[in-house]
C-alpha cells in the first residue's frame, strides 16, 4: 500500500468527501454548476446522483449521515458491528449498534475514489486473503485489516449456507482481527416449516449474542418503532415496483442503487423512509407525464441485471444506462420479497410480512425478513428450484417486461459462476437475450469498463435490442 494511502483512515476519507458532496445542493443552481469545475475528479459521480433532483440529494445526505455515524461511533460510545449487505440492519439498530457494512464501503470507494479500492483489494492478498475471494468485501476489508477504519467490536453476518466467499470474508476478519463473530446460517430451502423454524431459532440466538456483546437487553419499545418504519418502507417499495412494471418505466436508473443501498445502510430508520417517499413522489411525477425515468425521458429498452450492478469508478455504469435510453429495472439486490410486492404474486409463501402484534411475532417477522434478503433468498438452493435464482429472475423478467438480462458478478462468486452458464441457457430458452459479462463489479482491473461497454454495445446491436 502506498504510504500516502495510509495517512488517512479510509472511512474518514470517504465520509469527508460524501459530507461535502451532500451539501452541494444547499446553494443556488449556478453555484452548484460552478462548483463542479473545482472538483474534476468527483464531478461526474456527484452529478450522477444530483441530476435526478431531490431523491439524489437525500441519498447523498443519507450516505453522509451513515458514514458519519460509523466514523464517530466510538466517540459517541456506540458498539460497532462489521456486517454484510444481506444482513438486514434493523435488529442492530434496535440495540443501538452501528452496522458497518463491508459491501457498502466497498461500493462507495469503488464509485467515488479515483482508483477505486485497488490498494485495499491488494492489501487483503498481502496479508493472506486469497485474491480469488469476493471483491465486494475485499475492497473495504483491506482497510479494516490495515487498521484504516473504525474497528468493529464484533462481526455479524448471514451468508453461511448462501455464499461461501462472502461468509469466508467475515470468518477471516474474525480470525485475523480476533473479534467475536456470529453467523446466521441458512438451510438450502426457504419456505418449508423446517427452514422457518431453523431461521427463527437462529435469529433468537443472534439476539442472545448481541445482548451478551452489548450487555443490554433487547429494547422492544425501540424495536417497535423500527418495525413501524419498516412497514411504511415496505409499502413504498411495493409501490415503486408497481411503477417499475409500467411501460415506460418512470424509475430513473439510479433508483435501483438508492433503494437497496439505502436499505443496506439505514433500513428501518426514518432517513430511509424519507428517501423512499421522495423517490416515490418523483417517480409518480414522471409517470404522470408518461415518460421514462431515463434522462431523456425515452425508453428504448428495458434491462434486468440478474445479479448485481457494475460499480465502476465515476458511476459510469449508470451514465451508460442513460446514454442508451435503457430503463434499469433493477438487479437481484433490488428484491426484498415483502408481502404483496408485484413480483411475488402467487408466491406469497416466499415473502415476509411484518407482524407487530407481539414481541415474539416481531422477532419472527425480522427473522423472516433477513432470510428473504437479496442473495440470502435465491442462492441458498439449486438454481432451478422454486423460489431460487432462475425462478426469481424469470418472474421479475415477466412482471417487469424486460427486453434483456445481464449477469455481472465478481470473480469471487463461486455460487453464481458455478451455474451461470446453465442459467443463461435457460433464460435464452425462455426468450430473454442474456449477456454474461466476464467482469468484476468492483474491480476494473479484471475487465476495464471500456472493454465492458464494448461487450454491452456489441450485444445490444447484435441482438437488435431496442431496434
Amino acid at each position: 500500500m502506498k504510504r500516502e494511502t495510509m495517512e488517512y483512515n479510509y472511512d474518514w476519507n470517504l465520509w469527508t468527501i460524501l459530507e461535502c458532496a451532500s451539501k452541494t445542493n444547499e446553494g443556488f443552481c449556478k453555484e452548484y454548476h460552478n462548483l463542479l469545475k473545482y472538483v474534476p475528479h468527483y464531478g461526474p459521480v456527484l452529478e450522477a446522483f444530483m441530476r435526478f433532483g431531490q431523491p439524489g440529494d437525500i441519498f447523498l445526505k443519507l450516505m453522509a449521515g451513515y458514514m458519519k455515524m460509523c466514523v464517530t461511533s466510538k466517540e459517541n460510545g456506540k458498539f460497532t458491528a462489521l456486517t454484510s449487505f444481506c444482513m438486514a440492519p434493523p435488529i442492530l439498530y434496535a440495540f443501538d449498534i452501528v452496522p458497518m457494512c463491508l459491501e457498502v464501503w466497498t461500493v462507495l470507494g469503488t464509485i467515488v475514489l479515483r482508483r477505486g479500492t485497488t490498494e485495499f483489494l491488494d492489501y487483503c492478498c498481502e496479508v493472506g486473503f486469497t485474491e480469488t475471494s469476493c471483491s465486494a468485501q475485499r475492497g473495504a476489508l483491506g482497510a479494516y485489516l490495515a487498521g484504516l477504519c473504525t474497528q468493529p467490536d464484533f462481526i455479524v453476518f448471514d451468508s453461511p449456507g448462501i455464499c461461501d466467499t462472502n461468509a469466508n470474508s467475515f470468518a477471516f476478519a474474525s480470525a485475523f482481527l480476533d473479534k467475536p463473530m456470529f453467523q446466521l446460517n441458512s438451510p438450502p430451502t426457504l419456505s418449508d416449516e423446517r427452514a422457518t423454524k431453523y431461521h427463527r431459532r437462529d435469529f433468537r440466538n443472534l439476539i442472545t449474542f448481541l445482548e451478551k456483546q452489548t450487555g443490554k437487553k433487547l429494547d422492544f419499545a425501540r424495536l417497535k418503532e423500527i418495525v413501524g418504519e419498516i412497514k411504511r418502507q415496505d409499502e413504498i417499495a411495493c409501490e415503486l415496483f408497481d411503477l417499475a412494471s409500467l411501460v415506460p418505466s418512470p424509475l430513473p436508473g439510479m433508483y435501483d442503487l438508492m433503494l437497496y443501498g439505502g436499505k443496506f445502510m439505514m433500513g428501518g430508520t426514518r432517513e430511509y423512509t424519507l428517501l423512499l417517499e421522495s423517490m416515490l413522489q418523483t417517480a409518480k411525477g414522471i409517470a404522470d407525464k408518461n415518460l421514462s425515468g431515463t434522462l431523456s425521458g425515452r425508453e428504448k429498452a428495458r434491462a434486468l441485471f440478474c445479479y448485481i450492478d457494475h460499480y465502476t469508478t465515476n458511476a459510469r455504469f449508470w451514465y451508460w444506462i442513460d446514454e442508451h435510453d435503457i430503463s434499469m429495472l433493477g438487479s437481484m439486490l433490488f428484491t426484498f420479497w415483502q408481502k404483496d410486492v408485484v413480483y411475488a404474486k402467487e408466491k406469497q409463501d416466499q415473502t415476509y410480512d411484518i407482524d407487530d402484534s407481539s414481541d415474539e411475532a416481531i422477532i419472527d417477522s425480522l427473522a423472516d425478513q433477513v432470510s428473504r434478503m437479496p442473495m440470502v433468498k435465491q442462492i441458498r438452493g439449486p438454481y432451478d428450484a422454486p423460489g431460487m435464482m432462475l425462478d426469481d429472475t424469470l418472474g421479475a423478467a415477466r412482471v417487469l417486461n424486460v427486453d434483456f438480462i445481464v449477469y455481472v458478478g465478481t470473480m469471487g462468486c463461486r455460487n453464481t459462476w458455478g451455474v451461470i452458464k446453465c442459467i443463461a441457457r435457460d433464460l435464452e430458452k425462455a426468450g430473454y437475450p442474456t449477456l454474461v459479462l466476464y467482469a468484476d463489479g468492483f474491480d476494473d482491473r479484471v475487465q476495464s469498463w471500456e472493454s465492458i461497454t464494448d461487450k454491452l454495445n456489441e450485444f445490444i446491436s447484435l441482438r437488435r435490442i431496442g431496434a
Binding site: 466476464y438 468484476d440 474491480d443 479484471v446 476495464s448 472493454s451
Partner: protein, 263 residues
C-alpha cells in the same frame, strides 16, 4: 578456484564462470526444447567467454526449471535460493529480492547471510510474468526492451488495464489501440498492471530494505518506476546484469560447497 553456475530457465538459459570474487564470463541464450542441450550450449559459450577449460571448473551448481536434467553439475539448487545468494553477493545490504522471470515472479526476503526468510511466487496465470510483457509488447508492435521506456502523456487520465488475466488484457490493449490511445499511454498501463501484481507478492513476504530486482523484467524501467511508487521505496539497481543472478547464485553456492564454507 574456478566454479560455475548454470541456470536453465523456461525462456532463457544462463551460465556463469566465477573465479573467487571475479566473474570471468557469462552467457545468456534462448532455451531449447531439451534442457540438457540448453545447458551444454550455454555452459560452453560461457567457458569460451571466460577463456576457461571445462576441466578447470572445480564445481558446478545447476538451477532453474531444467536443473535436474543438467548432466555436468554436482548439485541442483532451487532458483529461489540462488537468486537470494546472487543478489546478496552483488549488493550486501539487500534484504528483499524481486525476481521476475519468463514464467514466474517471486518475492524473496533474505537475511544478511543470504538465507531465505520467506518467499512467495505467483500462481498459474502468466499475468505478472515476463511472458505477459512479451505478449503485450508484441501487440503494441514494439520490442520488449522498448516497452519500459515508453511513457504516457502527463495530463492524461491513466488507462486501466486488466491485470488478472493475460488473455483479457490483450483484448483491452486492442480496444485501446482501436480507439486511438497512444502507445505510451498503453505501455504505462501495461507496466503499471504488471507492477501491481508484483507489489502484492512483495507485501506478502513483508518488505525489508534494501530492495533489488533480478530477472529479465528488471531491465524494464517502467515496471521498476511503478513498483517503486507502489512500494514507497527505491529499488536499487544492481551493478550487474539482473538476468544472470540465478546463475551467479548457483556459482557462489558451488564455491561454498567446494570450499566447505557454510552455504
Amino acid at each position: 578456484m574456478i566454479v560455475a553456475g548454470c541456470d536453465v530457465g523456461s525462456l532463457t538459459s544462463k551460465a556463469l564462470i566465477l573465479n573467487n570474487k571475479n566473474v570471468l564470463g557469462y552467457c545468456v541464450i534462448r532455451s531449447k526444447t531439451r534442457p540438457e542441450e540448453s545447458a551444454r550450449e550455454v555452459f560452453e559459450l560461457a567457458l569460451k567467454k571466460a577463456a576457461v577449460h571445462e576441466e578447470q571448473v572445480m564445481c558446478c551448481v545447476g538451477t532453474g526449471y531444467g536443473r535436474n536434467k543438467i548432466p555436468f553439475i554436482q548439485e541442483a539448487v532451487s532458483e529461489i535460493t540462488c537468486h537470494g545468494k546472487g543478489a546478496l553477493w552483488v549488493m550486501p545490504r539487500v534484504r528483499t529480492v524481486i525476481d521476475i522471470g519468463g514464467q514466474d515472479c517471486k518475492a524473496i526476503r533474505i537475511d544478511k547471510e543470504g538465507t531465505i526468510q520467506k518467499f512467495t511466487t505467483n500462481d498459474k496465470c502468466a499475468a505478472g510474468t515476463g511472458r505477459f510483457l512479451e505478449v503485450m509488447a508484441k501487440l503494441l508492435g514494439v520490442a520488449i526492451d522498448e516497452l519500459g521506456g515508453l511513457k504516457g502523456g502527463q495530463n492524461q487520465e491513466p488507462l486501466t488495464l486488466s491485470s488478472a488475466c493475460t488473455v483479457w488484457a490483450q483484448a483491452e490493449v486492442i480496444h485501446h489501440l482501436n480507439i486511438g490511445k497512444s502507445k505510451g499511454d498503453i505501455a504505462e498501463a501495461i507496466n503499471r498492471a504488471m507492477a501491481g501484481r508484483v507489489a502484492i507478492l512483495v507485501g506478502n513476504v513483508g518488505l525489508e530494505k534494501d530492495v533489488c530486482m533480478t530477472g529479465g523484467v528488471a531491465k524494464n524501467t517502467g515496471v521498476v518506476r511503478h513498483l517503486e511508487k507502489m512500494l514507497g521505496v527505491k529499488i536499487k539497481r544492481l551493478k550487474f546484469d539482473p538476468q544472470i543472478m540465478g546463475a551467479l547464485g548457483a556459482a557462489i553456492i558451488a564455491k561454498q560447497m567446494y570450499t566447505g564454507e557454510n552455504p
